[in-house]
């Protein structure tokens, strides 16, 4: 089914994002919170739920949760933990300590790079479960010969961020997830690594005729990358529209995304849903951050991606709001290179040039770019801005700079990128004109499109050492 066939149907999407907090220790005990350690080494009576053990809340986790709430413009409120009861072997107590009807953060929003705003219903604290590996029988619990449980993850602090059903396309869902990831990283509360499971996304998807009430939703689980998120949502929209177009009804279900087969499959129906029997956790007391603590946390939360994008756009002036520039700015901020660009602009580099190099070349190697010496980067852009290096040359030298660092002028010399003597450029041009008499005649006759043709030849002939601006000037001079 193509997009055209889903015309007339509007997807309604809400995302539930679980993120692990980067605390030193777990949510309710002193065990190390670390990914990838030897299984069952970061465990104690509390996170194993041994009889008689009791939870004690980690204040840093509360602080990180408040940072997230602050960054998402939430109301931060006195909150309460509840027990969510269900049996599962990787859950040591067979209940999860979570927040239910009194979460710490409520009623916020997240602005996406395209200017749209997605409501955030709540962002609450809870503990993670252990991790089960099923051996044999295709890796699913029911067919497995046996299962192994690693409780290192049990009790790791999570914040679950529940969006409002404000998202209207898979693309917007991707934007939201990517932007949220940027926010989480910017707060320092989480590392947002989807591949390590420290950020996990579930999608609630329904479709409706525009203007009608919400349709029945399905919750899709197992979305381990932004790519899976987009594919799964697109698949699910198409599936639901097909069901409805053929006169059927969508059943409320939890569905599992199969990345290999590219499809979602039913996991359990509404009727099979657990009754979690939530009730207030009697082993913990109310969390009531006072105004001073909240103010301290708010002050410690740095600039969010949206603020940083606005700052870059301001550097560009009126040009900063065009679609092309907006995309470039988003790329720079996403890769955390706005500091690099801002330093260059403040040192007198044109904002457009600085943005182009940062969004295109530097962002292609984000880790190396983040390690660049801003002064060296600025010096390189200055060589280009002053015409000492052509754009092509500057990109080559930037590649060298990213790879091994150093002084851009010295790197340029190593490449032999001195500006060509005017005489030698003239000799090259004589040769090119002699070789391409017809094209030259059309150029002289006023066909400006051939500027590019001759510039390209000049670059080829000089092994990219020619300065593009100098070639253009030479062509204009000869045309008279």
């Amino acid at each position: 089914m193509t997009a055209a066939e889903t015309t007339g149907w509007e997807p309604v999407i809400g995302l539930e994002v679980h993120c692990e907090l980067r605390t030193e220790t777990k949510l309710f005990c002193g065990c190390r919170n670390a990914f990838g350690d030897e299984p069952n080494t970061n465990i104690c009576p509390v996170c194993l739920g041994l009889p008689g053990s009791l939870p004690v809340l980690n204040a840093t986790a509360v602080e990180f949760a408040m940072r997230i709430g602050t960054a998402l413009h939430c109301e931060i409120r006195p909150s309460l933990f509840h027990r969510k009861n269900y049996f599962y072997p990787d859950m040591p107590k067979d209940y999860q300590i979570s927040q239910y009807d009194e979460p710490i953060n409520t009623n916020g929003w997240l602005e996406l790079p395209d200017g749209s705003r997605v409501g955030v219903e709540r962002a609450h604290m809870e503990e993670d479960t252990g991790k089960t590996t099923h051996r044999g029988g295709g890796g699913r619990i029911h067919e497995a010969e046996h299962s192994l449980v690693d409780y290192n993850r049990a009790g790791v602090p999570l914040v679950e961020i529940v969006s409002r059903p404000d998202i209207r396309s898979a693309t917007q869902a991707r934007l939201y997830a990517a932007e949220l990831r940027g926010v989480l990283i910017a707060t320092g509360a989480s590392d947002g690594r989807m591949e390590e499971g420290s950020m996990r996304v579930d999608a609630n998807v329904s479709v409706r005729r525009a203007g009608e009430a919400f349709g029945t939703r399905c919750e899709i689980k197992n979305l381990n990358s932004l790519r899976s998120l987009v594919r799964a949502i697109e698949y699910e929209i198409t599936r639901q529209v097909e069901v409805l177009e053929s006169g059927g009804t969508v059943a409320q279900q939890t569905r599992h995304w199969d990345e290999d087969q590219g499809r979602t499959g039913a996991l359990r129906s509404k009727e099979e849903a657990f009754d979690y029997r939530y009730f207030p956790e009697p082993d913990l007391v109310r969390v009531d951050p006072d105004a001073r603590w909240q103010a301290e946390v708010a002050a410690a939360v740095g600039a969010m991606p949206a603020d940083r994008r606005a700052a870059l756009a301001a550097l560009l002036g009126p040009d900063g709001t065009s679609q092309a520039r907006t995309d470039q700015i988003a790329t720079v901020v996403e890769h955390g290179l706005d500091g690099l660009m801002t330093t260059a602009v403040e040192a007198g580099i044109g904002a457009t040039l600085a943005l182009a190099r940062t969004a295109n070349e530097a962002s292609a190697e984000p880790e190396r770019a983040r390690a660049l010496d801003p002064a060296g980067y600025t010096a390189l852009l200055r060589l280009e801005q002053e015409g000492t290096l052509s754009a092509t040359q500057a990109k080559v030298v930037l590649g060298d700079l990213l790879e091994r660092g150093g002084d851009p002028a010295a790197l340029a010399r190593l490449r032999g990128f001195e500006a060509l003597e005017a005489d030698s450029l003239a000799a090259v041009m004589d040769e090119l004109i002699a070789d391409h008499p017809d094209e030259w005649a059309r150029f002289v006759g006023g066909d400006d499109k051939l500027t590019g043709f001759f510039t390209g030849l000049a670059m080829q002939a000089t092994d990219k050492k020619a300065n593009g601006k100098a070639v253009a000037a030479e062509l204009r001079r000869r045309r008279g």
Binding site: V56, N85, I141, D275, L284
Partner: protein, 487 residues
């Protein structure tokens, strides 16, 4: 024979060795516990090692603490590192905690010697200690009668003179009720006064650990050792433990004592008569006794039997066969869990898990759990109102004296009614004590209960000390070790 505090004094002064004291009590246990069955585990070697260590410290001029060399029994729902902790349940088969409960650590820090783990109703659910997977404990005063419960083993061990002190836990009366039935002193502290870390949870918002002793002073001394803030328990009060021993002899002159008819009427005539007599004793000691009524107390029992099972249904979920204790294999993990829980839990525990699961279920939560929480608030408010006119309240601990083994096992409602006078203090989180105050016509002990507002433990002990002074001298129980002392 001597009280625990006197015993500790003798050990600290070097008049008797801790080894000798401990050996004497181990011998009494070996001799008499076959008939009583107060103990599930006796720590002969561990206790002797500890006693030897205490004697070494005394020889080196150190002070091992206020309970130096005193043998203490610990209810078997308190974790003891490396010593099996059963909760009288098959489901914890073979489980040894890797850690000590905070109260056990504090006992050891005070020089006490844990000599054994005592019998209880499975997971502390019951009022007779008959719900134990390892068989019932017998009342030392009448071998065919129950010791009460759920801390029946601890109460019976102290009553039979097998240990001078014991720890129990009290969720709805599980210290005070067996104390009354066994003729010993038992006290439930203010909720949060004593750490619950290492107490295997039954109903977390109601559970408190507390002392048993043969005298009020001994119980107060043990209370001082175990009370006080514990950073491992989030519900632990952040305040130092009150001193209870030093104010014991301050009397009740000028004290206002309320006598709520809900804690006196409807109990057996012998029991009611003793409560009236206790009121007279307090009046003649200078207190003002006023009859009063707290009608809300009548709703305590139904509220308790919704809240406690609800919390229990969640607390007992973890016994699923995955990590420790019993495992009965099944075709898949769910079948394994089901088979394990079916085989591992006794009938009363299953009954309460089902009651609690139902009370928390979608669609029923508001009508049951939610409503019970409201009743709890009403009872707290009613107590607050009563305490505007009284400093303490006096009443019966139990409706009857010890009942025969088997008499109520098939009638859960009758069994639940045993807690009617004790449950309100748990719902309110207030301290209360049961102190022996005579016997019925069959020579079975009767206890009276003193209740007070939160944090008023010293007052509770003080009033109990006055009653103890005026109580008839105790008779020796039928089943007793050679160490039995009376007072």
């Amino acid at each position: 024979m001597t009280t625990a505090l006197a015993l500790a004094g003798q050990v600290r002064r070097g008049e008797v060795s801790a080894a000798e004291v401990v050996d004497r009590h181990l011998a009494a246990i070996d001799e008499a516990d076959g008939a009583v069955h107060a103990f599930l585990t006796v720590l002969h070697d561990g206790a002797r090692r500890r006693a030897a260590e205490i004697d070494r410290r005394i020889a080196a001029g150190e002070d091992p603490g206020p309970l130096a060399g005193v043998p203490v029994a610990v209810k078997d729902n308190l974790c003891t590192a490396g010593v099996r902790t059963t909760c009288s349940s098959r489901i914890l088969d073979g489980w040894c905690p890797p850690y000590d409960a905070t109260v056990v650590e504090r006992l050891q820090g005070a020089g006490a010697v844990v000599v054994g783990k005592t019998n209880l109703d499975e997971f502390a659910m019951g009022s007779s200690t008959e719900n134990s997977a390892f068989g019932p404990t017998r009342n030392p005063y009448a071998a065919d009668r129950v010791p009460g419960g759920s801390s029946g083993g601890s109460a019976a061990a102290v009553a039979a003179g097998l240990v001078p002190l014991a720890l129990g836990s009290d969720t709805g009366g599980s210290i005070r009720q067996p104390a009354a039935l066994c003729g010993v002193v038992g006290m439930k502290p203010t909720y949060g006064m004593v750490s619950r870390y290492g107490l295997v949870a039954f109903a977390s918002s109601l559970d408190q650990v507390g002392p048993f002793g043969t005298t009020v002073a001994d119980a107060a001394g043990l209370f001082e050792v175990i009370a006080g803030h514990d950073p491992l328990d989030s519900t632990s009060l952040e305040r130092p433990a009150p001193r209870a021993v030093e104010t014991l002899d301050e009397g009740v002159e000028g004290l206002r004592v309320g006598l709520p008819r809900e804690l006196v009427e409807g109990v057996a005539p012998d029991v009611g008569a003793r409560v009236q007599r206790a009121a007279e004793v307090l009046a003649s000691a200078g207190a003002t006794v006023t009859e009063c009524s707290i009608p809300e107390l009548a709703y305590g029992l139904p509220a308790y039997y919704l809240l406690a099972p609800a919390e229990a249904s969640s607390n007992l979920s973890r016994y699923d066969g995955v990590r420790y204790g019993l495992r009965v294999e099944g075709d898949d993990v769910e079948a394994m869990m089901r088979a394990t829980r079916a085989a591992g839990f006794g009938a009363e525990v299953k009954r309460r898990i089902m009651l609690g699961t139902y009370a928390l279920s979608a669609g029923y939560y508001d009508a049951y759990y939610g409503q019970a929480q409201k009743v709890r608030t009403l009872i707290i408010n009613a107590f607050d109102e009563a305490y505007r006119h009284a400093d303490v309240l006096l009443g019966a601990t139990t409706p009857t004296t010890a009942f025969p083994l088997g008499a109520k096992v098939d009638d859960p409602m009758a069994m639940y009614l045993s807690d009617v006078c004790t449950v309100p203090s748990n719902l309110a989180g207030h301290p209360a004590i049961s102190v022996p105050f005579g016997a019925d016509g069959d020579g079975l002990p009767i206890g009276v209960q003193v209740l007070a507002p939160a944090l008023c433990e010293p007052l509770v002990f003080r009033v109990a000390a006055v009653l103890e002074e005026a109580a008839p001298a105790p008779v020796a129980p039928a089943l007793a070790g050679a160490t039995w002392s009376g007072r």
